[in-house]
Symmetry: C2
């Protein structure tokens, strides 16, 4: 494929992409096939001779599309959103063409510098404290990490390093491995599995802090564990707070926990992977109060800030060698094409859709809401057994009209309804609820026989 063919094929692909997204809701949102379906559809080895582009593009509908879970369908309500927007897609084409590897300033100055400034834009949108902003003096500042998991890992490693140094300042005779064996990290029992994995990788202990009846960590619970561990000769050094947990979008109490961490010389990291984007709206910003006590903070613009394709995580207040692709280009295009007001409107619209769904659930006495609806996630279930709810979800999944995933809350099997696609509108919510109640009706009728 030379430049001339790329001009032709690239433009065809632009139309294919636009067609795909304009008609996505006609496709079943979830695939209907068995694991291993793909291997038999394509050869076992790469071809020796080049194939034609026509053959390849035909295979997209034959091989790929039947196996795609359509994350950008307005009927996709599973997991959390994966952001997508047209400006981000255009920017990504440019990013690919430049194709630089920004591992140092000289390797592509624009790549390094735009990233620093875009992370400052982000930090200001979130009204982060001054110390999180690089500015021109740059003691703080953010970088784009590959994933939220990486951001959490890096914060834990930084905290580990700092803790070892601190202990050795007091007692120079202690070996690093002796100190490591005493370090304890903490996080919520609702935290994402990547937090626990960070501790495994970093070879330090991690304790799960029990949460209150709203699935949040409170000061007293953490304090009790820290005291016990100190009494046992251990060294508490790190707490990872979650703002917007994966199961129920719960918020740890930063304003209580932050001062405790500061008193105890513990690094406080904030993982706000999903919820972080919402803090650009003044009405949601109070959920971030207490960030001034934190040592580091990350969230995923690729979840809810319309910056698609890449795993973007803003890990602020801690610098490591920069991300590799020219990913900040996408932020630049998106922030400018939408403006802060446009981004806020997107967040508010999706929160309103979640509230609309919540109202529908609350109006139906067969159902209950299982956690406060703060942002775009509704946790609900049929009043009744876990088995009943499992069966309902099974039927929802099988029907392939909408797609949900479950979670466990206080031992109960709960359905998670997350507003995901940029194109989800009120009528999709209404239709989704009608579909759920229809399946519920059939299920309860069968159950009563």
């Amino acid at each position: 494929m030379d430049a001339a063919e790329f001009r032709r094929r690239g433009k065809e692909m632009v139309d294919y992409v636009a067609d795909y997204l304009e008609n996505i809701e006609k496709r079943p949102v979830y695939p209907d096939l068995e694991p291993g379906y793909l291997r038999s559809l394509i050869p076992n080895e790469a071809p020796l001779e080049p194939e034609s582009y026509e053959d390849i593009i035909k295979d997209v509908e034959r091989v790929i599309m039947p196996g795609v879970t359509h994350w950008h369908s307005p009927y996709f309500f599973a997991y959390f959103p994966a952001a997508s927007s047209y400006p981000a897609m255009v920017a990504d084409m440019l990013c690919g063409a430049i194709g630089c590897i920004g591992f140092s300033w000289a390797a592509s100055p624009a790549c390094t510098e735009l990233e620093t400034v875009m992370l400052d834009w982000l930090g200001k949108m979130l009204q982060l404290p001054e110390c999180f902003i690089a500015g021109t003096h740059g003691r703080g500042g953010g970088v784009i990490q590959g994933t939220a998991s990486e951001a959490t890992l890096i914060s834990l490693l930084a905290a580990r390093c700092k803790a070892v140094r601190r202990v050795q300042t007091i007692n120079a005779k202690k070996s690093e491995s002796e100190i490591l064996s005493k370090l304890v990290a903490y996080t919520s029992d609702q935290a994402h599995s990547s937090v626990e994995r960070a501790a495994l990788i970093g070879a330090v202990m991690m304790r799960k802090v029990p949460t209150d009846n709203r699935y949040a960590v409170r000061r007293e619970m953490l304090k009790k564990m820290v005291e016990e561990d100190k009494a046992a000769g251990l060294i508490p050094f790190y707490f990872c707070a979650t703002l917007g947990t994966t199961p129920s979008c719960a918020f740890d109490h930063l304003t209580e926990l932050g001062p405790l961490c500061n008193e105890e010389n513990m690094w406080m990291h904030i993982d706000a992977a999903y919820a972080g984007s919402a803090f650009i709206c003044p009405e949601f910003r109070p959920l971030l109060n207490g960030v001034e006590f934190a040592d580091s903070f990350n969230f995923n613009p690729h979840k809810w800030l319309l910056v698609n394709f890449d795993y973007m995580t803003a890990a602020i207040h801690w610098q490591i060698p920069l991300g590799r692709r020219f990913r900040s280009l996408k932020m630049w295009f998106v922030f400018r094409m939408y403006g802060l007001k446009g981004l806020q409107a997107h967040i508010r619209k999706q929160v309103a859709l979640a509230k609309e769904f919540e109202s529908l659930v609350r109006a139906d006495k067969r159902f209950e809401i299982c956690a406060e609806v703060v942002l775009g996630l509704v946790c609900f279930r049929l009043k009744g057994s876990n088995e009943l709810n499992q069966e309902l979800l099974k039927r929802i999944t099988k029907s392939r009209e909408i797609h949900l995933v479950p979670c466990q809350l206080s031992g109960r099997f709960v359905l998670r309804f997350a507003i995901c696609a940029r194109t989800t509108e009120s009528h999709h919510i209404q239709q989704a609820w009608q579909h759920i109640t229809q399946l519920t009706f059939e299920l309860l009728q069968e159950a009563s026989h």
Copy 2:
């Protein structure tokens, strides 16, 4: 930007990208500006209201392009190649539109399954042993990692876990932290800094093994260190071999080292980030002999296999949760549009260009070649002081006609000339050499005054 505008702007961007790449050699390959140049060119904050696309696209030439190091210019000879090809760019557009997050099979079955099969295609292209292939039974198999650094880290963590279990099987009373404090990993003194960093993250000791006069690790050198460490009560558990080191593209002697690692119960990982792609050519495959002793293997198709944009690393024989984007789509498009023969032709052409440059250097008595030219990298220098060579490189960089980076080999300052861009041809090599000799002439004339 709605779908209609995306159709228009996307097609304009396809033309911009094609224009950029067709005319890239007219741009200075390296930017001429000072750190911090960008911040003053754009606002300090995101705009409140949306901006027009025209304004944004105008800023690409005003703000971004002056700060880009053009990795795909045929005059770019720095670092190692960052692959780029038109089919990969078209595939990336599709990947972005699907925009799925493949963290589990259900999250997008096609994403998981195509990746498994594409890594098998890759493994077969490299003629890896059967145990590295997933096939339909799947005890081996590969995944796409974010970077080679991650692949190395994961192999080290796997080895650490295996070593702890092994020691505890023999002596159940030993605590994990006690064992961790005794573990020792090894790698070449020529290895990439990411290997050392993996050990830092994993909180284990790492020793650098001295290399022979061809910058390769030999059996005896590693054996001696292992024996000494065992005598000191330590537990050797991991060796990271390098095939194609960053400074000089040297190759550790796998066929000697593999059996030693197996005898000593040490995990052998192979980092072939750059050189790995070349093993698809039968004439270079012998460099990989000994892989049958290895526990894991990684290389970067995004360096030399025309699969651009993303940081693809094939980490074979070790499975972790899958990569996130639908990155295998790009492999699929590229492997099929080029065919194995097309990919081999690309490797061979670039190796031939390196040999052509080597001949030019060898024919000029003022210069010397500093390491065997095996693939696409030529290490050379002016006979004379390090200062002289530093001055030459400084002038090359300042002229911005070609771009090189240096390395240190045996304490000497050496210039690295790597064949990088897909579009580099013989006349670019000739012109680059003419440029270097012209600068040399001026430099030596000044020095003689």
